[in-house]
Symmetry: C2
Subunit: 445 residues, 2 copies
């Protein structure tokens, strides 16, 4: 096997393993098979598990009592590549330019997954074993919400029992800055619909005498926040864990400032809850966000209707120790109490996910940081949370009872989910080193 | 010619003269030709004028000095018939059941137009002339906004000079109640867009630190009205002509109550500007209405984006003596003043139309009411305004300098623009009588 680590990544990237598109089901399966072959050739005991959707690849070394068990998670499926015309070169024909690999999946998640897989291969080749009991679990449905992962974990909870989970699928605060993520926001979604008249009405004939559901919806949304960005739903902040002073201090030194966010977003000016920095607002404070708004005439020009209905799709990002199951009824009651008699409110609950936090000063957390420090030439890791949600982390916690170490290698400008996704070869190499150091550190916990 | 008036209407209804659909252009032309033949056979000097769109039919008697000139307007084009599957019988094969004619155009406007045309024919047959100088002007583009009528009026302003215009294309407050409409609301439309970030953002990564254009739009819309339904735009009511006490008194006795509006609209409860009845709100008070609302994710389920933009399509119904040209800049300035720095406001003006009012106690108004009284067995006509806009009325005022008498024969449940449009034979016969009485009354003014 004269395949270099880079060759193995490029091969992996050439599979158009788009999980959401049934036309690519065979490509997803082929990628799983190829990945299993790579792990098997590395000396790991590897199985491809079929699921009702795409397969789950599980690889393990020989497990021995008396040493910790680490579950390493990754996903070999990718987002669709469209809009294709915005790619400078074809998304599934990896191109390297100035040390950067361009391809769909380069960062999310094949680049990070193959860095770990190559790390495992190198340790196996050098030592004939790994320093811990390892379970590598690579799924093919992360980009469609991992519908079969939870049932798989539940069905194999004894085989998959572990002390800790490690994932490289999050971000670094900047190139060269090792980053340890110890918290994530949760989420709860709902769709709110206000119905007024039975049909769209002629706004000339009836306008003025009948309440307009679009206007009433706007009046509801306008009450969600006060002028200082604070959410006005009764009890919404009751379970919010205050930021620790060490967090605020640590985050204030990060190379993430408002200027960078303005540039990344193209927003004319930033705005958020008074009393918090932008980083604090996105990592440690909850939100009430309108994801979609609709009602009445949407086409070109005008159509003078008084719409029968209007809707808003809301998502609420939650922070420890908020609980979607507690909040959703509070949100619904608050909306109901503010809905006038002229319209009818319907609330449809959507998906939810618990917020996540682990103690970065725990033994596992310290081991992860030590590995990051060694990998990045002694540089102190940034301790961060992230604003998004990673539902699988909660599944690992709920089903396997294990905390997850989030050791991301994605750069802010990696273009994950977007055209011209990319991953530096330097990060790919750092990931291989990280895998070896991480298993060494965890072996000592 | 053994064709009865009803035969002539049924023949006219069989032309699928759908003006908006170019596949029907030949049907529209054929209807114009047939109508011209009917008028010519009635003894009127008739011309079919081509336009860049559909033809305009003009018919006149011999004009003599010393008697008033009346322009009678109607339109022979119709709305599309779809959704076809909701029609009980084919829309262009008129069916008569219990004295009611069902067909597309039965009420709007062929039934009313052919009532007048038959009235003219009967008077010409009986007397060899009409009591006034008559110009019948029947267009084929009313349902697409009369794009060629204004230029035609302007080009023929001397030929079309008249003392007054008469139109039967409005409603009766109830079956058997003669109705004279002396006022219409105007309109001005605009589309408002708020842009925040350059692209839709991940609501987990950025939510909390960047203003949401959908939320900001809702906050703007929520400020449009106070809790009592009054519009909060500075100066919005400055030019509003107060309701006369005779109007409020007359309208309070009409058979139009809130229960009827609730039933017609299916709205859970009525709402409007405090201090006014529903009829007053729709006929004599201005509105600020959201006709359409959009932004972010519109599909099924949820997509957790922080949308880049959100829009609202507004229409403002205006009353005498409000002026769109004055109000639109006021509206835009008001919106601009309330738009936070976190988003960018764009306002695109749409179409506008002046509100219309004539004095129902003028000589022409009294003549029209006398004709209605005679037509409907001495019953006193209801004096009403309508909430909609009829832009051609303004064109007649602006270009020909003439007021318009609106003598509608449409019933509230006529289903104009909808499936199973219908017109009672009794109203068709009343329209024929109305034509004769109206010309007699106007001859005496």
């Amino acid at each position: 096997m004269a395949m270099t680590p880079l060759d193995s990544l490029l091969t992996c990237l050439r599979f158009p393993s788009v999980s959401t598109d049934s036309a690519h089901a065979e490509d997803v399966r082929a990628c799983a098979q190829w990945l299993a072959g790579f792990l098997r050739d590395s000396g790991l005991n590897t199985t491809v598990h079929p699921t009702p959707g795409h397969p789950i690849v599980v690889a393990r070394n020989t497990h021995r009592p008396g040493r910790p068990t680490v579950l390493l998670y990754g996903h070999y499926d990718v987002q669709p590549a469209d809009p294709l015309d915005l790619w400078l070169t074809p998304p599934f024909e990896p191109r390297i330019e100035n040390g950067i690999i361009f391809a769909r999946g380069a960062t999310d998640n094949k680049g990070q997954l193959m860095a770990h897989a190559n790390g495992l291969r190198q340790t196996m080749a050098a030592d004939g074993d790994l320093p811990v009991n390892l379970i590598a679990l690579f799924e093919g449905e992360e980009e469609i919400g991992s519908p079969n992962l939870g049932p798989f974990l539940a069905a194999h909870r004894h085989d998959l029992a572990c002390d800790v989970v490690a994932i490289s699928d999050t971000g670094m605060v900047a190139a060269g800055v090792p980053t340890f993520t110890y918290g994530l926001r949760g989420i709860t979604c709902c769709e709110v619909e206000l119905t007024g008249p039975a049909l769209d009405l002629h706004s000339g004939i009836f306008g003025g005498s009948v309440a307009n559901p679009a206007t009433e919806l706007a009046r509801l949304i306008a009450q969600l926040h006060d002028a200082h960005g604070r959410i006005m739903i009764d009890g919404f902040y009751d379970q919010v864990r205050p930021l620790a002073s060490w967090e605020r201090e640590a985050w204030s030194t990060l190379p993430l400032n408002d200027q960078a966010i303005l540039k990344l977003t193209g927003s004319p000016a930033l705005f958020g809850e008074a009393g918090y920095s932008s980083v604090e607002r996105t990592w440690a404070r909850p939100t009430a966000e309108v994801n979609g708004l609709g009602g009445g005439y949407q086409g070109e020009g005008s159509k003078t209707v008084l719409p029968s209905r209007a809707f808003a799709k809301f998502s609420f990002r939650l922070v420890p120790d908020q609980n979607p199951a507690v909040l959703l009824p509070q949100i619904e009651a608050w909306l109901q109490a503010r809905t006038p008699a002229t319209v009818t409110l319907t609330v449809r609950s959507g998906h939810s996910g618990q917020p996540y936090a682990m103690d970065p000063h725990s033994r596992h957390g310290q081991a992860a940081q030590a590995a990051l420090r060694t990998t990045f030439d002694g540089r102190e890791p940034a301790l961060i949370r992230e604003g998004g949600s990673i539902p699988i982390v909660q599944s690992f916690k709920d089903i396997l009872g294990a905390d997850t170490l989030l050791l991301g290698l994605a750069l802010p400008d990696c273009q994950a989910h977007a055209p011209n996704e990319n991953f530096p070869i330097a990060n790919f190499e750092a990931g291989q080193r990280l895998n070896r150091h991480l298993l060494q550190e965890l072996a000592r916990v």
